[in-house]
Each structure stands twice: as structure tokens, then as C-alpha cells.
């Protein structure tokens, strides 16, 4: 197991190197020139060249890459072209809101969606099943920003229970944190819940037809015990895969959710950086997202051991 983890961790190095090369090339081949954006309307071509030189953008591409990669090896992601702040500082400012939003979304989604999926499979064909699946289709089909606006309208403006926007750190004020994170987590969680509920239902339906489930019923076990201990545990491998892969979906949704609820997270940082071609920030954020995703996949793979004793690494 330890050897497997080490092997997987070592395998992330070439993956991250490929991501770094790809991101760097993609950005630098785009037609946008940050020097021209910075220079503004009054600058002469000489001044634009000077700004380009100061930013190091006039050097050959391979030199720019080597310079960036060299700094990267030392943990230096560079500085934002516009604000002049270190990329690590910018990412550091944004990690907590995005992390907490993602975790809260996953928590709400898993806590609600798995039981709903199990119940839908257990009561297959009934109104309960149809209601759960209708909600799932709704959650999957309606865009995150629409759900966000509806929640703001209902939860903030009509009921006045939650603030419209913003974020409070969990370290500063737990109550403020909960009130600020609830609506965004629900908005972002809708699609995720739908995905997990549908997967849970489908997998559970398969498992519930297995002989050992029939045997469990036959030997007189309570329904709850059969569903949770026998059926759900065996259905968890594909469900946990969906949960893991669904994080990619979440990262996409995070961008929209953070914009709608004005949460200063990594998603907004990425979009803002892309819109003004802030190369170092885009590169840094994509590397962080890629690393997170690679590590998450590793965690998902390791979680299989918990659900299926036959799996060994």
C-alpha cells in the first residue's frame, strides 16, 4: 500500500510537468499581449516594448519557460503582472473560501444525495422514486447561476435568513461562515447531488437484485440493515468514483458560484486572470487545480480498499 502511494505520488511529477508545459504554451500562443493592456492609450511603441522587456515577455519563449520552470522548482510561482503581488500570496488569499465551499458542497451533497438515492432504489417505481429523480433531473439541468439567483431571492431577500454575498472565514466567525456559505453550497451542490443520487440509485438497483441481498432478506435482517450494510457498502465503489470525478464538475461550478455570490475564491481568481491574460496567475492556479485533481484521484483509488476488501494495492 505504502509503495503504491509512493509510486502514484512519483507519477504525479511527469503529469504536472506535462500540465506545466501545456498551460505555458497555450497561454503564450494566445494573441493577447499584457504589455499593450498595461500600456494603455497614451503609450508609444517604445514604451510598450519597455514594458514588455520589464515583464520579461520579449525573451524567446523557451527562455521564458525555463525561467518560469526554474522558479517553479523552488516554489516560486512568480508575480501577478498587474498587481505585482506574488502568485502564492494571491492563491493563499483564495484557497480557504474555495476549499470550504467545495467541502461544504460535498458534505451537503453526500449527506442528502446518498440517502435519497438509496430510498429511490428501495422504493423504485413509486412516487418517492419519481420525486427524487425529478429533483435530480432539475438539479442536473438548471444552470448553477439560476439556482443561485433563486436562492438569493428566496433565502436572502424574501426570508432574510442569509446574506446576499460575500464570505466570512471560519477562523474569524463560525456563525458568519455558516450563514455566508449555506446558499452557495446549496447552489453548487444541486448538480452534484443530482449526479450522486442518480448514480446511487442505479448502482443500488443493480445490487438489490443480487442473490446475497435476497439471502439477507431471507434470513430475516431488517430492511435498513440490508440496505446500508449489505447493499450500499457494495455499491460504494462506483459511487465513490462518481464523488471523486464529480469534483471536476464542482471546480467548473465553483467559478460561477463564486461570481454569483461574490466569494473571493480561486475560481474568480482564475476568471479574472484569464480575462486580462495574467500569465503567472493563470499558470499557478491551473497547476494548483491539476495537483488537487491528481491527488483526489489517488484518494478515490485508496478509498476502494475501505469498501471492497478484495482490492489490494
Amino acid at each position: 500500500m505504502i509503495a503504491y502511494i509512493i509510486r502514484r505520488l512519483l507519477a504525479t511529477i511527469p503529469i504536472m510537468a506535462l500540465v506545466a508545459v501545456f498551460v505555458f504554451m497555450l497561454l503564450h500562443l494566445s494573441p493577447t499581449d499584457p504589455a499593450l493592456i498595461i500600456a494603455g492609450d497614451f503609450a508609444t511603441p517604445e514604451q510598450v516594448d519597455e514594458i514588455r522587456r520589464q515583464l520579461g515577455l520579449n525573451a524567446p519563449l523557451y527562455q521564458q519557460f525555463l525561467h518560469w520552470a526554474g522558479n517553479l522548482m523552488q516554489g516560486d510561482l512568480g508575480k501577478s503582472i498587474y498587481s505585482g503581488l506574488p502568485v502564492t500570496t494571491l492563491i493563499g488569499q483564495r484557497v480557504e473560501p474555495t476549499l470550504m465551499l467545495t467541502l461544504c458542497t460535498m458534505l451537503i451533497a453526500i449527506v442528502l444525495a446518498i440517502p435519497l438515492g438509496v430510498i429511490a432504489a428501495w422504493k423504485v417505481g413509486t412516487w418517492i422514486d419519481r420525486t427524487v429523480m425529478t429533483l435530480a433531473v432539475f438539479g442536473f439541468s438548471v444552470p448553477v447561476f439560476v439556482i443561485g439567483y433563486l436562492l438569493i431571492l428566496g433565502g436572502s431577500r424574501k426570508l432574510g435568513w442569509f446574506p446576499v454575498q460575500g464570505y466570512t472565514s471560519i477562523l474569524d466567525d463560525f456563525g458568519g461562515f455558516v450563514s455566508h456559505i449555506t446558499l452557495p453550497a446549496l447552489a453548487l451542490g444541486a448538480v452534484y447531488m443530482a449526479l450522486i443520487a442518480r448514480m446511487t440509485r442505479a448502482t443500488m438497483l443493480e445490487v438489490l437484485n443480487e442473490d446475497y441481498v435476497r439471502t439477507a432478506y431471507a434470513k430475516g435482517l431488517a430492511t435498513r440493515k440490508v440496505l446500508v450494510k449489505h447493499a450500499l457498502k457494495n455499491a460504494m465503489v462506483p459511487i465513490s468514483t462518481t464523488i471523486g470525478l464529480g469534483v471536476a464538475l464542482l471546480i467548473g461550478g465553483v467559478v460561477v458560484t463564486e461570481t454569483v455570490f461574490a466569494i473571493p475564491g480561486l475560481g474568480r481568481l482564475t476568471v479574472d486572470a484569464v480575462l486580462r491574460t495574467d500569465y503567472p496567475v493563470i499558470q499557478g492556479v491551473i497547476l494548483v487545480f491539476s495537483l488537487t485533481y491528481v491527488l483526489l484521484n489517488l484518494l478515490v483509488d485508496l478509498s476502494y480498499v475501505l469498501f471492497d476488501p478484495r482490492i489490494r494495492y
Binding site: 499593450l36 497614451f42 520589464q54 503581488l85 454575498q165 461574490a262
Partner: protein
């Protein structure tokens, strides 16, 4: 500074009363109860990405600059330049030497006194980046500090816009920085934000893309005159200003209605009915000068290298079409403004504007025939992420198609357009024929600040028009010191502009601002100033 508004008259006695109370309490040894900090929460029109207002022309950085820094001179609501950090100034009899004296009590946020050498270094740096500054520097023989409080600016030839340049209200504003910062290469950003303005920038709390925090600078000494545009007393009536960037217009509107923020600088016009349904919110046009829409041609390549085609384009459009497309509500735009240098400005005139006043498709088509237009594709850059620009691109495309031109809309984002408009290659090689933009009226008020009329060829603004007559008239305007003579030059210039068509002024519109009724003392000005404002 001759006009006084009600709140301005009231604010001075109230300040004196408060001061008297504080002094009395201190004298009696009474411990004053801890007062809650007054905080003004603002949703600015954009995120503050750059903090050096000389390095960038971004309006958001200019607004930030006005909080942190001060200026030697400043424009008042009569569009006249008044001393600001300057106590006064003298001009030599030959009009070539300006001697400027700094007023007492000026101090930077780090506690250092403001000296003449700081002003000299700041003006030199600004003069390398700003268009009007560059023009001033070209006729400046020397600028020197005589002593700590006095500086002299000596011209090599008469120049009529010295004070207008030093009191320029919009980007780049000649803010006075400490010499050690002003000595920074003008092509690099300053690394520390130290000014002598009414508010201090709180660097530790700055989060690009989220928030910018300013705190009242207690040692700032405002002028005695009431605030008037950028001139007069800059009295900080709140302890703290929080700029909270909310990118989504609907969320920002809801935050204002929920009382989570106090002031929303530029609400979307289509959301105004919803905002106005809240009786606790005021919606006002605080910028009385407005904004001018601009459709810019590329003069280097066919078909717009031919002035007949540019005239045809102007005959094919009408301003109302643009204004309805980008603003929608007629109360926020002029039905027609034929002045290249803005309606309501000192150089307003509509001479020569006949071809913009009336839309005449037949005339436009006839001009295209006369010009020999052969169906050459017209590439219009269309930044779809900026509604003001996108709307202008669409209206222009339809108007040109209506007169038989072959139009290609090139959809891109604003950042890409900013790069592509600088491409001097032909449209088929990554260049362009038309791009849409806009300028605040404060930038367009005269032939020097309005760089879209400059026609110096390769050195001109994007599009690179060349017209010696226009340049001669601009230079004559700059040298002239008599207002009436300047107006006469502008009339002659505008006739030439309508013949040459450097760009189409697509209309003058006014951006409303919304704020809660607990916010008092909002100044009417072309720049959102945050002094004078109090929060109840």
C-alpha cells in the same frame, strides 16, 4: 469654486461644532466614549488590479489615486483649474515661467512633509506617460525645486494649457508622490502606496478581485473652500472606505437593496427599475459630463483610408440607435450631441455636424459609389464581454450592411481587443478596420485631452490617422491662452473633423449611480470622489 450646494454649506459648521465638542471634552478631562467606526461600503465599477495611477490609465486606478494622493491643481465644477496642494502660483510677464508655492501642512502618509522636490519628480514621471503631460514636457525647458516649498516650471515657448495639464481631472492625473517613489521608472509600477491624500491605502487588506480598504488620514489638512469636483476641501467624513468588488450586476444590486453595501457606482441600467423600487435607495447621475461612445476607423487600410467611405459610414448611422442599444432609457442619454468635445463642455459646438445629425442611407450609398468601394470586407472588432462596446459594434455592423458594405464581425473579449487594436497589419493579417470604445467626457473636453482626434499618423492613437491641418489646429489651440480664441480654433477644427471623420461620436450618455439614503454628501463630479461623504 463659486457654486455652493446645501450640504457643503452645512458641512463646515458641523465640522466646527464637532471639533469644538472634542476640544471641550478633552479640556474637561472627560473620557470620550468609544465611537463606532464609520464605514462606507462601495461597489466600484471594476476591480482594482493596478495601484499605480501613472503606470495605467484605468479609471478604477485613477479613482483609487484620488483617495490616496493629492494634486497641485484641480478642476472645479465650473471646469476651471484651482490651486489644490498649491497655495498659489505666479506667472512671469513673458508667460514662460510658472512659480508654484506649496501650502502649509502637507504631509505624506509616512509622516514625511511634502516638498517641492516631490512635486518635481512626480510631474516628470507623469510627463513621460500621460498624453497631455508629454505635450507639456515637449515645451518645458526645465522644472526645478527652488526650495522645499517652491518650484518653477519654465517653458521654451508660450503654452496655454499649463494649468489645465497640472489640474487634469482624468487619467493620467498628475498625482504628487514622494520623490523616492516618483523616481521609479515610469514603465514600472511603484511598489509602495504612500500619498498625501485624505485616505490611506491599507496594503495588508488589499485582495485583488475582492476588496480594497482605505482609512482616513487624520493628518490631512483640507482646503477651506467647499469641495467642488477635484478642487476644494477634501474632508474625510468616514473612518474607513471598503471597496467591495462584486462582478455580477444582479448580485451587486441585491446587496445594495439588502443594505450590505452603501454605494453602487455603476448599476446596470436594465436593473434600475428593480433598484428604484426600494424607497431607501437614491439613483442619481453623479457625473454631469457623461461619456462619449466612439467608433474608431483604421486609416491604414481600405476602405476607411478613404474619407468618403468614412463620411458614408457617418451618414449611415444615428446616435439614438447607439444610445438605445447601450443605455436603453432616454433619460440617461442625449438625443443628439454633435460636439466632438462634448455637450456641456467649454468647447461645445455643433458646427459641421450635419452628416451625423441625419441618417441618410441614399447619401451614404452615393458616397460609397463615388469612393469606388469594391466590396472589401470590413472587420469590426466586437468585444462581447463589454456591453457598451458590444452594442456599438452591432449597431455599426447593421448600419454598414444597410448601405451595402461587406461586414465581418470579429467576436473577442476586451483584453484581446486591447491587443488586436494595436496590430498595424492589414485586416486579413490579424488587423482590423473598426473598433468600438468609449471615453469619459472629462477626457474629451478639449482637442489635447481628446486623443481620438489626434492625427499625427504613426504616432497617433490606434487607427493612426494623418492630417496636418488637424495637428496645426491642435497646436494652435494649445498655445492660445484666450478662451474666446480657443473656441474659434475649436470651431474651425470641428469642421475639419467632420470632413475628415477620425471617429464617429456615437452619443453622449450618463451613467447613473445608486446609493442608500444613509449616505450623505455625494459630490456631483465626473469622477466618483469619496471625500465629503458621510454615512449615518
Amino acid at each position: 469654486m463659486t457654486k455652493h450646494t446645501g450640504f457643503k454649506c452645512l458641512s463646515a459648521p458641523m465640522r466646527h461644532l464637532a471639533l469644538a465638542g472634542t476640544v471641550a471634552a478633552a479640556g474637561l478631562g472627560i473620557a470620550a466614549p468609544a465611537l463606532a467606526q464609520s464605514v462606507l461600503k462601495v461597489v466600484p465599477h471594476a476591480d482594482l488590479r493596478n495601484i499605480d495611477p501613472i503606470w495605467t490609465t484605468a479609471y478604477i486606478t485613477r479613482n483609487h489615486g484620488y483617495l490616496v494622493w493629492d494634486t497641485l491643481f484641480a478642476m472645479d465644477e465650473n471646469l476651471e483649474v484651482q490651486p489644490q496642494m498649491a497655495e498659489g502660483y505666479e506667472v512671469s510677464e513673458d508667460g514662460l515661467t510658472y512659480t508654484i508655492t506649496l501650502r502649509d501642512g502637507l504631509m505624506f502618509h509616512d509622516g514625511a512633509p511634502v516638498k517641492a522636490e516631490d512635486a518635481v519628480a512626480s510631474i516628470k514621471r507623469w510627463g513621460q506617460r500621460d498624453g497631455m503631460g508629454q505635450k507639456l514636457m515637449r515645451v518645458t525647458e526645465s522644472i526645478e525645486a527652488v526650495d522645499d516649498k517652491t518650484l518653477t516650471l519654465t517653458l521654451s515657448e508660450p503654452y496655454g494649457l499649463v494649468l489645465q495639464s497640472l489640474g487634469k481631472i482624468s487619467s493620467n492625473v498628475p498625482f504628487i508622490m514622494p520623490k523616492r517613489l516618483a523616481d521609479t521608472d515610469p514603465n514600472a509600477q511603484i511598489e509602495e502606496i504612500i500619498g498625501s491624500g485624505p485616505f490611506k491605502f491599507v496594503a495588508d487588506e488589499w485582495q485583488p478581485g475582492n476588496q480594497v480598504i482605505y482609512e482616513k488620514f487624520a493628518e490631512y489638512v483640507p482646503r477651506d473652500e467647499p469641495a467642488s469636483y477635484a478642487a476644494g476641501g477634501k474632508v474625510a467624513n468616514v473612518d474607513r472606505i471598503e471597496w467591495r468588488y462584486i462582478p455580477d450586476a444582479a448580485t451587486a444590486s441585491q446587496a445594495l437593496m439588502a443594505g450590505e453595501v452603501d454605494y453602487y457606482e455603476q448599476p446596470a441600467v436594465d436593473l434600475l427599475p428593480m433598484i428604484q423600487s426600494d424607497p431607501g435607495i437614491k439613483v442619481e447621475t453623479v457625473d454631469p459630463l457623461g461619456t462619449q461612445g466612439v467608433i474608431r476607423f483604421n486609416f491604414k487600410y481600405p476602405p476607411f483610408d478613404n474619407k468618403l467611405v468614412r463620411q458614408a459610414a457617418m451618414w449611415s448611422v444615428q446616435q439614438a440607435d447607439y444610445m438605445y442599444a447601450i443605455m436603453g432609457d432616454p433619460q440617461y442619454f442625449e438625443e443628439f450631441c454633435g460636439a466632438y468635445f462634448m455637450c456641456g463642455g467649454p468647447y461645445e459646438t455643433d458646427v459641421g455636424s450635419e452628416l451625423l445629425r441625419e441618417k441618410d442611407i441614399d447619401k451614404a450609398k452615393a458616397l460609397l459609389v463615388e469612393a469606388g468601394y469594391d466590396g472589401t470586407p470590413v472587420v469590426i472588432l466586437d468585444p462581447t464581454d463589454v456591453p457598451v462596446a458590444h452594442g456599438q459594434a452591432l449597431v455599426t455592423a447593421q448600419a454598414l450592411r444597410d448601405i451595402g458594405m461587406n461586414v465581418e464581425l470579429s467576436a473577442l473579449d476586451w483584453a484581446t481587443m486591447t491587443s488586436r487594436r494595436a496590430v498595424r497589419e492589414s485586416p486579413e493579417n490579424g488587423g482590423w478596420n473598426i473598433f468600438p470604445t468609449w471615453w469619459l467626457a472629462a477626457d474629451q473636453l478639449n482637442p489635447i485631452t481628446n486623443i481620438s482626434v489626434a492625427a499625427s499618423g504613426e504616432n497617433a492613437w490606434f487607427g493612426w490617422p494623418e492630417n496636418q491641418k488637424i495637428e496645426d489646429l491642435r497646436n494652435a489651440f494649445a498655445k492660445e491662452t484666450d478662451l474666446e480664441k480657443q473656441k474659434a480654433i475649436v470651431e474651425e477644427l470641428q469642421i475639419e473633423l467632420y470632413d475628415f471623420v477620425p471617429y464617429i461620436p456615437t452619443g453622449q450618455y450618463y451613467q447613473p449611480t445608486a446609493y442608500r439614503d444613509n449616505v450623505k454628501g455625494v459630490l456631483t463630479a465626473p469622477v466618483p470622489f469619496f471625500w465629503n461623504i458621510s454615512v449615518e
